[in-house]
């Protein structure tokens, strides 16, 4: 995919950061306002899609360092499942919320009923949100890149079956 015109690229560069920041906001406030890991991750992946559309796949790939995305994805998922394991081995059962209402990190108690919200509450939930957010960002970006390559080959007319025939002949 070729880069688009200079206007589009400039606008994408300036809007892209806002998209990322908004995604992070949605993720870290998942326990207080509508949103969470999946939604925020999807928002951030939209930013990656914007980069691909505006700058073309090659530049976007360098910008987000595609080769590190699988590691990022695994790291997010491992955060999630290890927190769940933490429930089993630091707390009582798998997925036990072992940080909530204990004080310390995300451990404040909430007043029951309508309130303005306390950021430092909810135990493992914000941490899990972050893990899932990382996973969704990396995962959807990887899907986008993979599809970018896949469709590119279709447009260039390189049919897979033909390539293999050539390989066999050679």
């Amino acid at each position: 995919m070729k880069p688009m015109s200079k206007i589009v690229r400039t606008v994408a560069a300036s809007i892209g950061w806002f998209v990322f920041v908004f995604g992070i906001y949605v993720i870290v406030h998942g326990h207080l306002t509508p949103g969470g890991g999946f939604q925020g991750g999807a928002v951030m992946a939209t930013g990656v899609a914007l980069l691909i559309v505006a700058y073309g796949g090659w530049s976007a790939e360098k910008c987000v360092r595609k080769e590190r995305l699988p590691v990022f994805e695994s790291a997010g998922l491992l955060t999630f499942i290890l927190l769940a394991f933490g429930g089993a081995f630091l707390g009582v059962t798998f997925f036990f919320n072992f940080l909530a209402n204990k004080g310390g990190l995300f451990g404040d108690t909430l007043p029951v009923g309508i309130n303005p919200g306390i950021f430092n509450s909810a135990g493992v939930i914000p941490l899990m949100n972050m893990g899932v957010g990382m996973e969704v960002l990396a995962g959807i970006s990887l899907i986008l890149f993979a599809m970018f390559y896949g469709t590119k080959k279709v447009r260039e007319g390189t049919c897979l079956a033909d390539n293999e025939k050539k390989e066999e002949d050679a």
């Binding site: 590691v71 695994s74 998922l77 491992l78 499942i81 394991f85 059962t93 798998f94 036990f96 897979l160």
Partner: protein, 522 residues
């Protein structure tokens, strides 16, 4: 308080953890990655055995996620379960044992079978583990929506794995076909779960079963669940995906895919017995299963007779063997409300059907693996291009004979044991059904004699001259399944007493299933 208390969840969590870590592990070395995959599944088998022991000692095991106590489904003051829970009785543990063994064999076999130069091996192993996780999760969970989630994990992982050899257009097409059928099935499962949620405001299967009042909505949900799960299990009116998907997936995947479809079969039985068995007219449901079973048996075997492709032939036999399970369990369901008949032959029929599930996973897995071994050396599935393999591939030939004898129901192997139980007990219910089952068995034998003759006997064709035995990991993988086939055939009494019999009894006894969550009597 020891860590084995968490055994029910470790069955799922260990392979899941490894599959998440594989993108990191494969940066170290490919051997680390493969060893971790094998180790996690072996660990799963071990955990299943621990859970099985616990069930023998003290009845169904419940594990509640995130609660203050893992084994207390209803803390004092609660009238309904709010959290997801695993509910493992003999039937679940039996299925999980069979599934985890099949998955372990599949991974061991893949070590040599999938060559490094084909690429994407890290993804292959991750997907394989995820498929196993989905299968095990479906079998262990006690929550309807959780069942749907695991159903989707198992099916999405298997779409990817079927299309692993994407250079072959037919495998991509098979994957797409399976995807359409399976996604529609899964969506209707979701719709049915939504219906039940709307009526009872609960997602726990035992709670729904206890409070079931049979109205129009429940009947609609029942039909949707039964049809879509039968579709995913490959029963006949909806069987068109089976031959393609089984025929085109890599052999190691196919061997496990058999167990994955059986997990849907387990879901079908769970819905019919535990969720709706309390209130439904079981005679109707039982005959529904019997008719599904008869059609599957007959159409599967007749389609298999005409195939030239060895894996497609085996896939049609898989449909036909699914019919036996449906027949056995269907007879049990049909007489569920009649205690005398249930005691004299119903329970035996179910035991036979359930025993056949595990036998099928083993011998059909073995047969698919031998087909894969042939493909590994010859790069073809076409029966006409094979011949005289018996002299070159000794182990594969022996394994094929064991598998073929087991599927045809010849005496010293496991297929004979379960089929004999089915024939005997079904004969008391309705002699005609038993006769049909025997005829199908004879046709199966004929079909496999033909395959054996054309692939392993006869003159060596030019392609076969340089063939050697397959690598060691494949021999080991096939060997495990062959040993299980022989052992189950030699000691069927033990298996029926300790595994299949209690599993059938736990399906029939839906009161125990419900009261292990809700507590107290009905």
């Amino acid at each position: 308080m020891s860590w084995t208390e968490h055994a029910p969840i470790l069955i799922i969590a260990a392979p899941l953890l490894v599959s998440f870590a594989i993108p990191l592990l494969e940066r170290i070395d490919y051997r680390v990655r493969n060893a971790a995959a094998v180790a996690s599944l072996v660990f799963s088998i071990w955990m299943v055995l621990i859970v099985l022991h616990k069930i023998w000692v003290s009845g169904p095991v419940v594990y509640v996620f995130g609660a203050k106590s893992a084994f207390l489904p209803l803390p004092s003051g609660f009238k309904f379960p709010v959290r997801i829970m695993f509910e493992i009785d003999h039937m679940s543990a039996f299925m999980a044992l069979s599934g985890s063994i099949a998955a372990t064999v599949g991974v061991i076999y893949s070590w040599a079978f999938i060559r490094e130069k084909e690429g994407g091996l890290g993804k292959y192993y991750s997907l394989f583990l995820l498929m196993s996780v989905g299968m095990l999760g479906m079998e262990l969970t006690g929550d309807a929506f959780n069942f749907f989630v695991f159903l989707e994990i198992a099916s999405i992982a298997s779409f990817g794995l079927i299309a692993y050899r994407r250079e072959d257009p037919a495998s991509v097409e098979a994957s797409f076909k399976y995807m359409i059928v399976s996604t529609i099935g899964a969506i209707f499962v979701l719709v049915a779960i939504g219906f039940l949620y709307g009526r009872y405001d609960a997602l726990n299967m035992a709670y729904i079963a206890k409070h079931m009042k049979l109205g129009i909505v429940e009947r609609v949900a029942f039909v949707l669940l039964v049809v879509s799960l039968a579709m995913k299990a490959g029963a006949v009116p909806m069987h068109m995906w089976v031959s393609d998907a089984y025929g085109r997936a890599p052999a190691a995947v196919t061997a496990t895919l058999v167990s994955v479809s059986q997990a849907s079969l387990y879901g079908l039985f769970r819905v019919m017995f535990s969720m709706f068995g309390v209130t439904m007219n079981n005679h109707f449901g039982g005959w529904m299963l019997i008719i599904f079973g008869l059609l599957s048996m007959f159409i599967g075997v007749t389609m298999a007779m005409v195939q030239k492709d060895i894996k497609r032939l085996m896939a049609y036999h898989a449909i036909s063997q699914t019919g036996y399970m449906l027949l056995g369990v269907g007879v049990g369901l049909a007489v569920l409300d009649n205690p005398v008949a249930l005691k004299s032959y119903g329970l035996a029929a179910m035991t036979g059907g359930i025993f056949h599930i595990m036998n099928h996973a083993m011998y059909k897995g073995l047969l698919f693996l031998t087909a894969g071994a042939i493909f590994y050396r010859l790069r073809t599935f076409n029966l006409n291009e094979m011949g005289g393999l018996a002299r070159k591939m000794k182990y594969t030939t022996i394994y094929f004979i064991i598998g073929a004898a087991a599927i045809a129901g010849l005496p010293p192997f496991n297929g004979f044991a379960s089929k004999l139980i089915i024939y005997e007990s079904v004969y008391k219910f309705n002699p005609l059904l038993s006769v049909v089952a025997m005829v199908v068995s004879v046709l199966t034998l004929a079909s496999f004699v033909k395959v054996f003759h054309s692939a392993f006997l006869g003159p060596e064709i030019s392609k076969v001259k340089n063939v050697r035995e397959v690598p060691r990991s494949m021999v080991i993988g096939m060997g495990v399944m062959a040993v299980i086939c022989v052992l189950f055939g030699l000691f069927p009494g033990m298996v029926v007493k300790y595994l299949a019999g209690p599993a059938a009894a736990s399906l029939v006894n839906h009161t125990a299933y419900i009261s292990s969550v809700i507590g107290g009597g009905m």
